[in-house]
């Protein structure tokens, strides 16, 4: 019986090849999208789910209150950890660690020889509790004492293999590793790498006592006033602890101990599962999940799936008359309605299974296409992911039910007599046509929405990139001197002098970061005006004299800074002057502002510049000059070299000079305009995603339209023949056949346009500076959709319209 059903169904699929192909294609697109998006979402939400007692594990985070903004940080002052351990009995266990910068690592190779790894990452300075808190499996070493005391290091298996490729874990213990040519540590243990989705991807745990003094000297690790996001503190609260109460206790503990904290500061327990997603505090190790994006992806998957189902419903009900004869016959020989429903549902199920198999086949390819959105550790492996198989089975059942139930009910309702008499009752026909039309409109609404959204996002990105930021962006190369190197401030001057001699350099500046850069630093500044002291959070940047000319930053009044060793004067931006109440910003020149070290004169006011992406509004900004802060080189290349290899040669000679002065470092440079383009990486990704969604939505909808028009022209073959005999031209017939469909597409536009306007307007609110949604976006998207529909229709209509009427009018 089952084989019988399968073989008959396949025969029927084969007879209606075009319809079957369209149905499978539509469903497969929706199913593959769902599959891939399920993988992504499932991956993102499984962060830290492997950790034991993760639900009562928290990260302690910091919120510092500046005068006019809060500054949230995922780190804590190092001193907080010990204090909390002593005074908060709610804490069951905890671990404190510091995430190190890229470090030079030197490893011994049999005796005299050594191997050097210039830039090793994933290194932390961890306290002795770290491995047991996270739950590593030990391969060698003593788990209880491995990180007790200074100069000890524990490696994960993969890192151990990298350093000592041939040795087994047990013999690695006792080896000595040198960090940054100065710190020595002996390996006291090897643990297994975590094989789970987690932010704890560190591979090398150097014992905290090794570096505690260093950290304190460099970063004020043990001062209450210092917060660095590298300093992490995780706790596991005892079961049953009320986290709100714990937060209150924490606040009291802080108040009791804090000294020399110049800002009001609070700490909170942040739930472990929130760490990967919370943008305010940052993820542990950079890779942050973005929940709205995930929800957006889910919506895309749902839409594409719905489009595929709609296609199926439309085509199957349209095709109904062709199957009516079979249904009628089956009924006359005793088939009941429910048997028919079962049969049709079975057919849908089979079709969905085929579409799913196709999807599984193309999933690896999709994963490649969408690489940008896909987390790196994501794997697609049916055998190793049983929950994926469960998802696929569920998906098949849901899709075949959604797509199959309506057509099955419609088809099984046919009355045999009417079928056998060759007249499918006309009243039910119109009603079904009405349902079909609604579904088609729904499809095109979705497609149209995606097109408009794509255009708006694209326009906003162009707007951001082309916006007058208030400074020069082109032909500028940036690079910085290495951190952690000997005598940087002397050597950078030598490099500066060397670079000056290179002919292809139009202008040169040695200063702080460029006008716009991913990170900013802020400080609090005071200004006294008419006897009142105004305290403000201000962004601070460091420049030399030529910086302003190099970036072509315009002055409203005053002059650029004089290069100096310590801060002696300030240049402020227009916004700061206005914020302080100067109607005419130029008037602030000659007054003073003060940071912690006394008041300094303001010598100039610049026009406002964008120091961040157009997401953020322009805020108060000061420029100062301080030799020690100048670790970035800014090079303006001469314009003549752009299209020849002049720039390449200049950069090559810069690199040569750099290597001479800093032979130990890599020469990493970037073009300033490209750095700015990266501000919009998230938007570029959104745009990429929307392009694909729009493309697929149009494609599926047009497939559906094609199916419908094939059906309609088949039905109207006789009418077309008669009209041609009566003298209608091909064009007249084509327009007759297309007109009804074009009306549906136009209606879809009317519905989609306001929805899209509303949604995109909402999206744009995220930007402090935004493009407007112009009328042409609607005109272009509407026209594009109509054109796509028209082209699809013409695939079939032209053929039908040019057919010889003799063929269609011959009576059987």
């Amino acid at each position: 019986m089952f084989n019988h059903f399968i073989s008959i169904t396949f025969r029927s699929f084969w007879r209606h090849k075009a319809f079957t192909a369209i149905n499978i294609a539509g469903l497969a697109i929706g199913i593959s999208a769902s599959l891939v998006i399920y993988l992504i979402v499932q991956y993102e939400f499984s962060y830290e789910k492997c950790m034991k007692d993760g639900d009562r594990t928290y990260r302690v985070v910091t919120n510092m209150h500046f005068p006019n903004m809060d500054f949230k940080n995922g780190g804590v002052p190092g001193v907080l950890a010990g204090t909390m351990r002593r005074e908060m009995p709610e804490i069951e266990s905890s671990t404190q660690f510091w995430m190190a910068n890229e470090t030079k690592v030197t490893v011994p190779v049999n005796g005299e020889n050594t191997k050097t790894f210039p830039k090793q990452d994933e290194i932390i300075y961890a306290d002795e509790y770290y491995p047991s808190f996270i739950g590593y499996e030990w391969l060698a070493g003593n788990s209880s004492t491995a990180l007790q005391g200074p100069n000890k290091v524990v490696l994960t298996e993969s890192r151990a293999k990298l350093y000592f490729p041939t040795a087994d874990p047990a013999s690695i213990v006792g080896q000595t590793i040198i960090y940054d040519d100065s710190l020595q540590a002996s390996v006291t243990g090897v643990v297994k790498d975590l094989d789970a989705v987690t932010g704890f991807t560190f591979k090398e745990f150097l014992s905290m006592p090794t570096v505690e003094r260093l950290l304190n000297d460099r970063h004020g690790f043990l001062e209450w006033g210092n917060v660095n996001s590298a300093s992490q503190f995780f706790v596991r609260l005892k079961a049953g602890t009320d986290v709100h109460k714990a937060n209150a206790t924490l606040k009291a503990v802080r108040k009791k101990h804090e000294k020399d904290a110049y800002l009001e500061t609070d700490h909170y327990f942040q739930q472990l599962y929130d760490v990967h997603f919370n943008g305010d505090y940052g993820a542990i190790n950079g890779e942050r999940g973005h929940k709205p994006t995930l929800y957006g992806l889910l919506a895309v998957a749902a839409f594409l799936l719905v489009l595929g189902c709609i296609n199926f419903i439309n085509l199957t009900t349209a095709q109904a008359t062709q199957r009516a004869k079979e249904i009628g016959i089956r009924k006359t020989i005793g088939c009941t309605k429910w048997q028919l429903v079962r049969k049709f549902m079975g057919e849908t199920l089979l079709l969905t299974v085929i579409a799913t198999l196709v999807s599984i086949g193309i999933a690896p390819w999709i994963l490649k296409v969408f690489e940008d959105f896909i987390p790196q550790g994501l794997k697609f492996n049916l055998a190793a992911q049983p929950q994926l198989i469960l998802f696929i089975v569920l998906l098949i059942l849901v899709v075949s039910w959604l797509a199959g139930i309506y057509p099955a009910l419609v088809l099984s309702r046919f009355r045999p007599v009417q079928v056998l008499k060759n007249n499918i009752s006309s009243s039910s026909q119109t009603r079904r046509a009405y349902v079909r039309k609604t579904l088609t409109v729904a499809q095109f609404v979705i497609a149209q929405f995606f097109i408009i959204a794509t255009l708006v996002v694209g326009k906003q990105i162009r707007f951001g990139l082309n916006k007058e930021m208030g400074f020069r962006k082109d032909a500028i190369v940036n690079f910085s001197i290495p951190n952690n190197t000997a005598n940087p401030h002397v050597r950078k001057i030598t490099l500066y002098e060397k670079l000056k001699a290179i002919p292809g350099i139009e202008r040169l500046s040695l200063a702080g970061p460029p006008p716009a850069s991913p990170g900013i630093s802020s400080t609090t500044m005071k200004h006294v005006r008419e006897g009142k002291e105004i305290e403000t959070t201000v962004e601070i940047k460091y420049a030399d004299t030529s910086y302003f000319q190099l970036y072509d930053i315009k002055f409203i009044a005053g002059r650029p800074l004089q290069q100096s060793d310590t801060i002696r004067e300030y240049v402020v931006n227009e916004s700061y002057a206005r914020f302080l109440g100067y109607q005419n910003p130029a008037d602030i020149v000659g007054t003073t502002v003060s940071r912690d070290r006394g008041a300094m004169p303001v010598v100039g006011v610049i026009k406002d510049i964008h120091t961040k992406s157009v997401h953020s509004a322009i805020t108060p900004l000061v420029y100062a000059s301080m030799k020690e802060m100048n670790s970035n080189f800014h090079v303006l290349l001469s314009p003549s070299g752009e299209n020849t290899d002049g720039w390449k040669k200049t950069i090559a000679s810069i690199e040569k000079a750099y290597k001479e002065i800093f032979p130990e470092a890599e020469f990493d440079y970037s073009f300033f305009d490209e750095t700015i383009a990266k501000f919009y990486k998230k938007e570029q990704q959104t745009a990429g995603l929307l392009n694909w969604s729009a493309g697929l939505a149009i494609f599926i909808s047009c497939l559906g339209l094609l199916g419908l028009v094939i059906f309609t022209t088949n039905q109207r073959t006789k009418e077309i023949g008669i009209r041609k005999v009566l003298g209608a031209s091909v064009m007249q017939i084509v327009s007759l056949l297309s007109k009804d469909f074009m009306k549906l597409v136009a209606l879809a536009f009317v519905i989609a346009a306001p929805l899209a306007w509303w949604a995109m307007n909402d999206w744009l609110q995220d930007f402090a500076y935004r493009t407007n949604i112009s009328w042409w976006i609607f005109a272009v998207s509407g026209a594009a959709m109509l054109l796509a529909a028209l082209l699809t229709l013409s695939i079939r209509t032209i053929r039908s319209a040019s057919a010889n009427p003799v063929g269609s009018l011959r009576n059987e």
């Binding site: 019986m1 019988h4 008959i8 025969r11 029927s12 007879r15 004869k325 079979e326 009628g328 016959i329 089956r330 009924k331 006359t332 020989i333 005793g334 088939c335 009941t336 048997q339 045999p416 007599v417 056998l420 008499k421």
Partner: protein
């Protein structure tokens, strides 16, 4: 076998009833071979469909094997006809996607007959109709006469007591037609009650009784 009492059938066209059948009274005994004749539009096919329970009468009573069909529910009716009635159509109405074998087998599936038994029954009838060699072909690969033979085989597979045939030879040439009528005659001799609609006097003559329809009434 069956009895029709005051059967009428009409459609509303523009608010006025248009009669297809008007006050039909008819009784058919087991073993009869009845031919219904009449011009186009006289209501022959409708009458046949009502007898076969594919269509409802607008008015009147219908008894089939002592059961009042007009009072039965859809499901009971379907149960009744699939056990006792076989249909043969002018246009054969075979399912194009199914082979000859599968077409003949289908009614048995709907009567929940076991696979082994189905095989035996189908093999039997293929043999009897001399179409064993054609069992794996599809309807479109057969001539009209052969298709109708398959149609009749399918109608008979479930051993119905009543065979309803709507112009069974209408699409066939005269030789094929004659063969089909001979087959009907033989079936009738074996005890199957047959009601056929036909245009042809010659075919009607195979029957034991002729009913003439004109404008929805039986002509006496």
């Amino acid at each position: 076998m069956l009895e029709l009492k005051h059967i009428s059938k009409w459609y509303n066209v523009g608010g006025k009833p248009t009669f297809i059948l008007k006050d039909i009274n008819l009784s058919i005994q087991p073993g009869e071979f009845v031919s219904i004749m009449g011009p186009s539009g006289s209501g022959k096919s409708t009458l046949l469909h009502i007898m076969g329970m594919l269509d409802d009468a607008s008015e009147g009573e219908y008894y089939f094997m002592e059961q009042a069909v007009h009072t039965l529910k859809e499901k009971q009716r379907s149960h009744l006809y699939k056990q006792h009635i076989g249909f043969v159509f002018q246009a054969y109405h075979l399912i194009d996607e199914l082979t000859v074998y599968e077409n003949i087998e289908t009614p048995l599936i709907y009567q929940n007959i076991k696979s082994s038994e189905r095989k035996a029954l189908v093999a039997d009838i293929l043999d009897r109709f001399n179409i064993v060699g054609k069992k794996d072909l599809f309807p479109t690969q057969l001539s009209g006469g052969q298709q109708q033979l398959v149609g009749i085989a399918r109608a008979l597979i479930a051993k119905p007591q009543l065979l309803l045939a709507d112009e069974p030879t209408g699409n066939l040439n005269s030789k094929q037609g004659e063969e089909i009528m001979e087959l009907f005659k033989q079936l009738n001799d074996d005890g199957v009650t047959i009601v056929q609609v036909t245009h042809s006097e010659k075919n009607a003559a195979y029957g034991s009784r002729i009913i003439n329809l004109l404008d929805g009434r039986i002509e006496q």
